[in-house]
Homo-oligomer: 467 residues x 2
C-alpha cells in the first residue's frame, strides 16, 4: 500500500483528503475488486487521526458505491464495471452561446411580437403589490394551490363576468404559467374522449403544438372571413375544435354571432367541445368588446382560455382556463399529477391588483395607448407602403396581416426586413399544412414599436421590400 | 317598428342602449333576416341623437355579426342560425368550491410533501432581490429569453459545476417553470427517436405522467438497493431511461458508482439517453454530496434535470435542464414553439441571489435545519412507532419510506392518518404497474413538520395505526 499523505493545514478537510486518496486508488485500479481496505481503527492509529475521520471517508466512498461492508466487518472494493477514468469537462460548442443575442442586436424594430410598450405598465405600482404579497409567508413556502391561488381565481371570475359575459365560479377556473401549460393539462382530460382536433388554419401554432405533442392528430379547417368554415368542420367528423372567435389569430377575423350560434349548435349536436382562445379581446378600439362565445354557452361545451400577457407584461406568466362542468370530475382526479407552474407571489400580487381596480385602469390606459398607436401604424402603412401592400385594417388587437405585392417569397421578405433592422414573421408559419400559394403574407404587430418611430420603422420596411 | 326609448341620464352610454335595443329585437326575432335597419342619418334625426352614436351602435352590432352592410348602403339583419335566446349563467356545482380547503383544514401535520420549513427561508432578503430585479424594466415587458434569462443560466452553470461536478455551458441550460414544464419540451425532442421510455419502478409519478401524456409507452424497471435493475433494463430493449441516481425517488436508494458506470456504458453501447433527475442532492447530511451522473458523462448521453424547489420556496417555480450537445440543434429548431414559463422577475432575482453567494448560504442553513430535524424524525419513529414499522433510514433527503406492520391496506392507513390530522402518501401511488403485495408502505416527509412537534405528530400516527 502506498504512503498516504494527509495535510492537516490544508483547507480541504482531512476526511475528504482521505476519501480522495482511496477514490483515486480505486479508479486507477491500484485497489481492485474485493480487496479489503484497512480497518477503521487501524488506519486511524496509523495516520494519527480520529476514527470518526476515517469513518466519514469510508462512508462517503460507500455512499458513492466505491466500497461496501457487506459482511459488516471490513470495507472491500466494489466491482466498478469499466470505469471511465478520465472525466473531462464536456467540449462546448460556443456557436450557441450568443446565438440569440447576436441576432437581437441587429433588430431595431420588432414587428414580430405582441410584447408590451415599455411605457405601457406602471412598474412602481406593481412593485408595491408584489411587496404586499410577501406577507403571505405561509403560502410562499408551499407549492401553492394546484388550481392557482383562490383569491386570484375569484378575481378572474368577476373579471370575465363583467368584461366578457362569462358566468362561472372560481372552482371552475384553473391558473397556469401561460396557455401552453394549461393546454397540456387540458389535453390529458380531452384525450380520454378524443385523439384528434379541428384547428383553425392558419392558427395559433404554439397552442397547436401542444396538441400534436400530446399525440392528437390535427385536422386543419380553413378560415373564412366570417370565421371557421362550418361545412368543412361538419364534414371533418371531428367533435373537438380550437377557435379564437373574438379576433382570430393570425387573420384577425371576428366571428359573427350567426357563426357563433352555428358553432354552439354544432357542439350541442355532436356533444362536442369548443376551445375558445380569447387572447386579446381587451383591445377593441371601437365600441364594446365582442362577448365571448363562452358567454353564450348554455350547454357547457366551451372551454375558455384567457391570458394576461397582453394587458400586463408577459414576463408575468399567468393565464387561466374555465373548465365546463363536464370536465370537472376528471380534472379533480388528475389534478394532483400536474403541479401549479405559475409563481405564487405574482398570483397573489395580481389578485390584489385586480381587486383594487388597477387591472381595469391598466386596460383602459393600454387601450388608449394602442388605439393611438394603431392609427399611426395604419396611417404609416397607407402613406409609406401604399399600393405595394394590401392590409386588413380591423378594429381590434395589436397586429394585422400585410399582403405584399412582391415576387419574393415570404421568407425572403423576412430576411430582407431583418437586413434593414426589422423583425417580422411570415403568416405561412401559422399553417399546419402548406400555406396556399398566393402573394406573400406577413404579420405585423405594432405594440412594441415606439409611437414616435412608427414612420421611421415603416420606411425601413419599404426600403427592405420595394427599393 | 317599436318605440325606442333612450335614457340620456342613465349611466349606460346612449350607443349601448341603442345597441342593446336592436340586439334584443334581433334575438327575439322581431327583426328578421334580411330586414333593413333604419338609415343612420334617419335614425339619428328621429331620436335627436348624433349620427356618431347611431354609427357606433351599428358598428358594434356588425362586429358581433348581428347585422351587416354588404351593399354598403343600409345595414340588414344577418342569418342567426337557431339563436339560443335565453342566455343564462351556468349552474354552478358548489361542491367543488371548497373541496380542497375543507380537507386542508383537517390536516395538522403534512407528511406528504417536501415543502419547506416556514423558518427555512429569509423572505426579507429575497424581497430585496426581487425589488432589485425591477430595474430590468426593458426585459420585464417582454416574454423573456426563451431558454431563460442569461444571467441565471450562467449562475446555474457555475453552481452545478461546483456542487455537482457537472461541467457545462450556459447555452446548454434551459430554464422552466418546474420539471414537468421542462419534460414537456424534452419529450418533443426525444420523440423524434423514441416512443417508449424505461422508468424506475416505483418512480417520480408526475414526471412519468408527462411522458405518458406525450404518448410514450412506459416500461417500468424495478428498483434494487443498488439502483435500477440493469439486467431488466438491458433485456427491455429500451434506449431511453429516467433515473434519480443520487437519491432515488421514492425509495431513497443511492446508485453506487459501479452501477453508474454500468448505466453510462449501457447508454454508450446503445447510443441511448439517460435522464438524470437530481431533485434533492443538496441534502446529504453526512459527507459530501454524491457527484452527479452527468459529471461522469463523457459521451454526452445524459440529460440533467435540476430544481430549486427544495432549497428555495417551491412557490418560486424555477427548474433547469442541461441538454447534451446531441440535442442542441433539435432544441434550437423547436425552441420558438415553447414559451418560457418561468417568471422573469424571479429568474433575475435568483441570478443575483446566487451571484452574491446567498444560495450557498441558504443551502448550508437548510442542511443544518433538516439534519437536526431528520434526527428528531428518525428518533421519533424509533421511539414512538418502534417495532411496528421498518424504516430505511438513509442519510439524504427529506423523506423516508415506512413499511408498516399492519393488516390494513396502504389506503386505509392513509385514511386513518387523515382522521388523526396527518396527511401521508402511499408508496403504491408511485408505481406505474400494480405495486407488489407486501406490507403497506408509506412515504413520510419531515421537512414541513415543526421540529418541536415532531414527537406529537408521530404519536398521532401511532394512534391512527396501532391503537
Amino acid at each position: 500500500m502506498n504512503l498516504i499523505i494527509l495535510e492537516p493545514r490544508k483547507i480541504t478537510p482531512l476526511y475528504i483528503q482521505l476519501y480522495n486518496y482511496y477514490k483515486k486508488q480505486i479508479e486507477e485500479n491500484k485497489l481492485q475488486q474485493s480487496e479489503k481496505l484497512p480497518s477503521i481503527r487501524g488506519l486511524a492509529k496509523d495516520l494519527s487521526i480520529s476514527k470518526i475521520t476515517v469513518e466519514k471517508a469510508y462512508q462517503q466512498l460507500a455512499s458513492e458505491g466505491y466500497i461496501d461492508n457487506c459482511d459488516r466487518s471490513r470495507y472491500t472494493v466494489n466491482k466498478l464495471d469499466g470505469f471511465i477514468s478520465k472525466v473531462t469537462p464536456l467540449l462546448i460548442d460556443h456557436s450557441y452561446q450568443n446565438g440569440t443575442m447576436i441576432q437581437t442586436s441587429k433588430v431595431l424594430y420588432d414587428f414580430s411580437s405582441g410584447e408590451m410598450d415599455i411605457d405601457g405598465f406602471d412598474f412602481s405600482l406593481w412593485k408595491r403589490y408584489v411587496s404586499k404579497a410577501f406577507l403571505h409567508k405561509e403560502r410562499l413556502v408551499s407549492y401553492g394551490n394546484i388550481k392557482g391561488e383562490e383569491e386570484l381565481r375569484t378575481e378572474i371570475a368577476k373579471y370575465i363576468q363583467k368584461s366578457r359575459g362569462v358566468y362561472t365560479h372560481s372552482s371552475q377556473i384553473i391558473i397556469g404559467a401561460g396557455v401552453q401549460n394549461l393546454l397540456s393539462i387540458l389535453c390529458s382530460i380531452l384525450k380520454l374522449e378524443n385523439n384528434s382536433i379541428a384547428f383553425e388554419e392558419p392558427g395559433f401554432k404554439n397552442g397547436r403544438r401542444i396538441f400534436a405533442d400530446n399525440a392528437f392528430s390535427i385536422k386543419p379547417i380553413k378560415m373564412k372571413k366570417d370565421g371557421i368554415d362550418m361545412e368543412e368542420l361538419f364534414s371533418s367528423g371531428e367533435n373537438l375544435v380550437y377557435v379564437s372567435p373574438s379576433h382570430q389569430f393570425p387573420t384577425g377575423y371576428i366571428m359573427p354571432i350567426g357563426r357563433r350560434n352555428q358553432l354552439l349548435n354544432w357542439a350541442k349536436a355532436k356533444n362536442g367541445t369548443i376551445i375558445e382562445d380569447d387572447y386579446d379581446s381587451e383591445f377593441r378600439y371601437y365600441g364594446r368588446p365582442i362577448p365571448a362565445l363562452k358567454g353564450l354557452d348554455t350547454m357547457g361545451n366551451v372551454v375558455y382560455l384567457g391570458s394576461f400577457s397582453k394587458v400586463i407584461p408577459p414576463s408575468i406568466r399567468i393565464s387561466y382556463m374555465v373548465l365546463p362542468e363536464k370536465f370537472l370530475d376528471i380534472y379533480q382526479k388528475k389534478s394532483s399529477l400536474y403541479n401549479q407552474a405559475a409563481s405564487t407571489i405574482e398570483q397573489l400580487a395580481l389578485a390584489q391588483f385586480m381587486s383594487d381596480g388597477h387591472l381595469e385602469r391598466q386596460i383602459r390606459k393600454l387601450r388608449k395607448l394602442y388605439y393611438e398607436k394603431s392609427r399611426l401604424f395604419f396611417d404609416a402603412i397607407k402613406n409609406i407602403l401604399g399600393e405595394n401592400v394590401e392590409v386588413n385594417a380591423n378594429e381590434s388587437g395589436l397586429h394585422t396581416i400585410l399582403t405584399v405585392k412582391s415576387k419574393l417569397q415570404a421568407r425572403e421578405l423576412v430576411e430582407k426586413a431583418l437586413q434593414h433592422g426589422c423583425r417580422v414573421a411570415p403568416v405561412e408559419d401559422y399553417y399546419w399544412e402548406v400555406a396556399p400559394q398566393k402573394l406573400p403574407q406577413i404579420i405585423l404587430y405594432f405594440s412594441k414599436i415606439p409611437a414616435a418611430e412608427m414612420r421611421t420603422a415603416m420606411k425601413r420596411l419599404k426600403d427592405a421590400w420595394f427599393m
